[in-house]
């Protein structure tokens, strides 16, 4: 009895320490970033000496600020999500609702391989596609925003697939039966019953994906990001992105002030992902409220 009680104490103590450690690490990380980066956070970091209205409206290019990188990262994340979320959800639905066990095994294998692919390989893959295109259909093809978004989408696809599949499969059998017993077709059951019920879970996958899309540097380095590109006007333009900007600063800084500006950019990257998380959460809440109240 005492042994069991002691092991109980030890285990719950360990669990508490682990959670407390997590919060502490998080606070230290953000605190450190704040301490180093806050001093650099001003209009100059974003727009250099260009008036902000002119920069935001695109009247004047910004050369030394991170504004183009902020916009580039934002475009990249949104584009990659627009590609990956519908495809990922559709695959997740197939895996959970339609595929026979045999087919499911094959698709699952493919998803696992995709999930295990290092991002640098994904970047190389994108780069190879461009090489191939140049030699065949499109001699003028070059690395660009769209290519980066496609490769990032490939990178985050497995998260969204798995999380969609798992959330759908987690719907309890007696709830699942409501659909067919009320005369819903399989597709209606998925749309009106299973997807709303798993929206919370799917959302967590989308958030993970957004985080991954925001931070990845290896993929975009090989597929279209450059240090100075300005704000991309078209999908096939080169672009700037904050993680790459931070990488450049870290590699080439010449003064403490420059390094601090890098930390400032890191804070901005965190803020962008934070804002996107909030946006997605808000969207999910709107969807759920609509489903709970209205008909």
């Amino acid at each position: 009895m005492p042994v069991r009680r002691i092991s109980n104490r030890v285990l719950s103590g360990f669990a508490w320490i682990a959670s407390a450690g997590l919060c502490l690490t998080m606070l230290t990380l953000i605190g450190f970033l704040m301490k180093r980066g806050m001093t650099a956070l001003n209009a100059k970091l974003f727009f250099d000496n260009v008036p902000w209205t002119a920069a935001v409206l695109g009247r004047q290019p910004v050369f030394d600020g991170i504004w183009p990188a902020v916009v580039g990262s934002f475009y990249l994340i949104v584009l990659a999500s627009l590609i990956a979320v519908p495809l990922g959800m559709a695959t997740g639905i197939t895996l959970s609702e339609y595929a026979s066990p045999n087919i499911r095994r094959w698709i699952s294998l493919a998803v696992d391989i995709l999930a295990g692919t290092p991002s640098i390989i994904m970047g190389l893959f994108g780069f190879t596609i461009i090489l191939l295109l140049r030699k065949t259909l499109l001699p003028q093809a070059r690395t660009c925003l769209l290519l980066s978004a496609v490769c990032i989408a490939l990178l985050i696809l497995p998260y969204i697939i798995r999380v969609t599949q798992n959330s759908l499969e987690a719907v309890l059998p007696h709830i699942r039966l409501i659909g067919p017993s009320c005369g819903f077709t399989q597709w209606q059951t998925i749309c009106y019953l299973l997807l709303p019920l798993s929206s919370r879970g799917i959302l967590s996958g989308v958030i993970l994906g957004i985080g991954r899309a925001a931070e990845d540097t290896a993929v975009i380095m090989l597929t279209g990001v450059v240090a100075q590109a300005g704000i991309p006007q078209r999908l096939w333009d080169k672009f700037e992105a904050i993680p790459f900007h931070i990488y450049c600063v870290a590699a080439e800084y010449q003064s403490v002030r420059q390094l601090d500006a890098g930390f400032g950019s890191a804070l901005i990257l965190l803020a962008i992902t934070g804002i996107l998380f909030l946006a997605v959460t808000f969207l999910q809440r709107v969807v759920v409220t609509r489903y709970e109240i209205l008909s």
Binding site: H174, S181, L197, I293
Partner: protein, 254 residues
Amino acid sequence: MNSLSSVLEVTNLSVWFSERQVLSDIHLSLFPGELTVLIGHSGSGKSTLLQSINRLNEIFPVCRTQGEVQLCTERKKIRVYQSDVPLSEIRRRIGMVFQTPAVLPFSIFRNVAMPVRITLGYRGNVINERVEWALRQVSLWDEVKDRLHKNASTLSGGQQQRLCLARTLALEPDVLLLDEPTASLDFKSARKIEALLGELKTRYAILVVSHSLGQTLRVADRVCVIRDGRMVREMGKQELRNPAEFYRVIETYF
């Protein structure tokens, strides 16, 4: 009321799960104005029989069904397993309520309104009227009319089960199948559902699976005993009037 023509006719129905035969040669008729109770051991095939009547068993890929189920509505006869009537209409016409109150984690209103909108294709005010009508049918309207947009999970177990029944009724079924509808409810809520079934049977043919012999005696007009997938005994009103005889039969066939 014409008690001779059945609403639902099950003939020669056999069901297999993989290689195992779960039901053999079942014959069963449901009549309007009559409540039939199906009793038998756990695993005797009661729920399978219920689910093969509205073809719900087909969602299990290993299930194979043989035989015929015929639904006789006012206008037409529908052969459940062979007809060109869409499966969704068949399932709507043969309404089903499960053992665990399966409410959706949506609002009370939406629990009834969503199926009405999707399955029957109704829109606008017709839906509101239909929801109110269905909730009145199960005497839930007065209890929930002021909180229709609260989450349905805030209701008690008995209320949730009545909400499920309302959801089924709102879809204009011809037949009601209930799989141990009171098994997870307390005594009082169970009695309420029993009283409700007594009212509803005047309008629908009802088939109830029950594990409670007391309940069976209280509500049944006809009892079918099922054992190892076979219908072994049927008892009509006459026999049910004599509880001693009823229990003797149960002793013999259970």
